[in-house]
């Protein structure tokens, strides 16, 4: 309540002051919470800000967020480990300059947690064509990750993963109410991404292990040896995404479709739809639906068996997000303009809530998961 009152007082002062330059400032505060039926809980506060001059075409901005993850999932319990809590911090800086039709962008990101450090930097060039009816963008980003074990210095144990990401985007004005964009991504990853905590249960040839087999049954059927996960040492990932936005008199429809494939022979499709209604000048309500379905990677097995001479399978994983699954999400957003009468949306209070049900089609331990993520945000144009 105090935040809302402070925001209202601040917005009133901002409305009173006459604007003397073309420089805009935008700040945002966001707090999100996630919980699921697999006993994972995440809190994510974040702050972001952008200063820009639309007349001169420059913009600089940044974002800082913290993830506090607390987990006692079935994967942790199955290895007789205790609940753990971990903190991740992420910072991002970005800048762009587009004085006329040709522009450039740059960004850099650092993400740090006790057992994982991720650094990335990238740039892009963009150009408007056909009187700004067509805009293209070509971008490249390089990422370098260091993965280790919590409590062990990287100098004692670590693995590196290098990532090159190429992006191409084409945005088209289709008519006075419709805009569309097509995004192509190619991401090349090199390095061992196997999780050093993830042990994979192993079974004798011919053992029948049902889908969703509980921990006790898996422990009674598996052999005593339990090797660590081993993934391929490189991965090439490809995605093509089409996004369409159409403005009605008092509503906006946003549709998105993504097709995905990679060199581990995972294929997926994601469909996302939002309908944003204007309920007066100050309130926007936006129901949201999202469905994601994917096929498993080619080395996926629900129950890995050992080979002749007790050989481990060369590639093995227990990462459910590499298996076949279907996610369905439903939720929505509510945005309330709390600025002055001259510009009600100069200050916006936002609420969002989404619930996701995941069906794991060929996994041990679980067959489904329900999760919810909610958040509250405050955005201001100063």
């Amino acid at each position: 309540m105090l935040i809302v009152e402070a925001a209202l007082a601040g917005s009133a002062r901002a409305q009173d002051a006459p604007k003397t330059s073309s420089v805009d400032a935008h700040v945002g505060l966001d707090y999100g919470q996630y919980a699921d039926t697999d006993h994972v809980f995440v809190e994510t506060p974040s702050v972001s800000g952008t200063v820009s001059d639309p007349v001169k075409g420059w913009s600089v901005g940044g974002q800082y967020l913290v993830d506090v993850v607390s987990a006692a999932s079935v994967d942790i319990v199955s290895t007789a480990s205790r609940r753990w809590t971990e903190v991740r911090q992420e910072g991002e800086l970005r800048a762009s300059y587009k004085p006329k039709t040709l522009g450039a962008q740059a960004s850099a990101t650092v993400s740090d947690e006790p057992d994982y450090l991720s650094l990335s930097a990238g740039g892009a060039i963009t150009q408007d064509l056909a009187d700004k009816n067509v805009t293209w963008l070509l971008g490249y980003a390089y990422g370098h990750d260091v993965a280790g074990r919590s409590g062990t210095p990287f100098s004692v144990f670590s693995r590196t993963i290098d990532r090159s990401a190429f992006t191409g985007t084409l945005t088209l004005v289709l008519d006075p109410s419709t805009i569309a964009s097509l995004v192509g991504d190619v991401i090349l990853e090199n390095g061992d991404q196997s999780k050093p905590y993830r042990y994979v249960p192993l079974f004798a040839p011919g053992t029948q292990v049902p889908r969703g087999a509980p921990i006790d049954l898996v422990n009674s059927l598996r052999v005593s040896a339990r090797p660590l996960e081993q993934l391929p040492l490189s991965r090439s990932r490809y995605a093509l995404t089409a996004r369409l936005a159409h403005r009605y008199h008092l509503a906006t429809l946003r549709l998105e479709e993504r097709a995905y494939g990679d060199s581990w022979l995972m294929f997926g499709t994601t469909t996302d739809a939002r309908l944003l209604f204007d309920l007066g000048q100050r309130v926007e309500l936006g129901p949201h639906l999202r469905v994601h379905a994917q096929k498993a990677v080619d080395f996926w097995q629900r129950a890995y068996v050992y080979g002749p001479g007790f050989q481990y399978p060369a590639l093995r994983t227990g990462d459910r997000e590499l298996g076949p699954l279907v996610n369905a999400t439903a939720g929505g957003t509510l945005r309330i303009g709390i600025g002055g009468d001259a510009n009600p949306t100069s200050w916006v209070l936002g609420f969002d809530l989404n619930a996701t049900t995941t069906e794991y089609l060929d996994d041990l331990y679980v067959t489904d998961r329900i999760s919810a993520i909610g958040g509250v945000s405050l955005e201001a144009d100063l």
Partner: protein, 60 residues
Amino acid sequence: MVLLLSCAGCANVPPYERGKLAHPSMATSDMVSPSEQHVRAVQEGAVGGGSSAGGGCGCN
């Protein structure tokens, strides 16, 4: 996607007719909060189509 590609280049909308396109809800970027973006990165095996913040997903 086929619909989008088939429409490419079929309109030339002058600047004075783009009032609706300037509405904040018409932004071409993905309208997702940082926390929701993170959840997607963990729950979906696929990537791409939005801004990327690199690895380090905070999960095991």
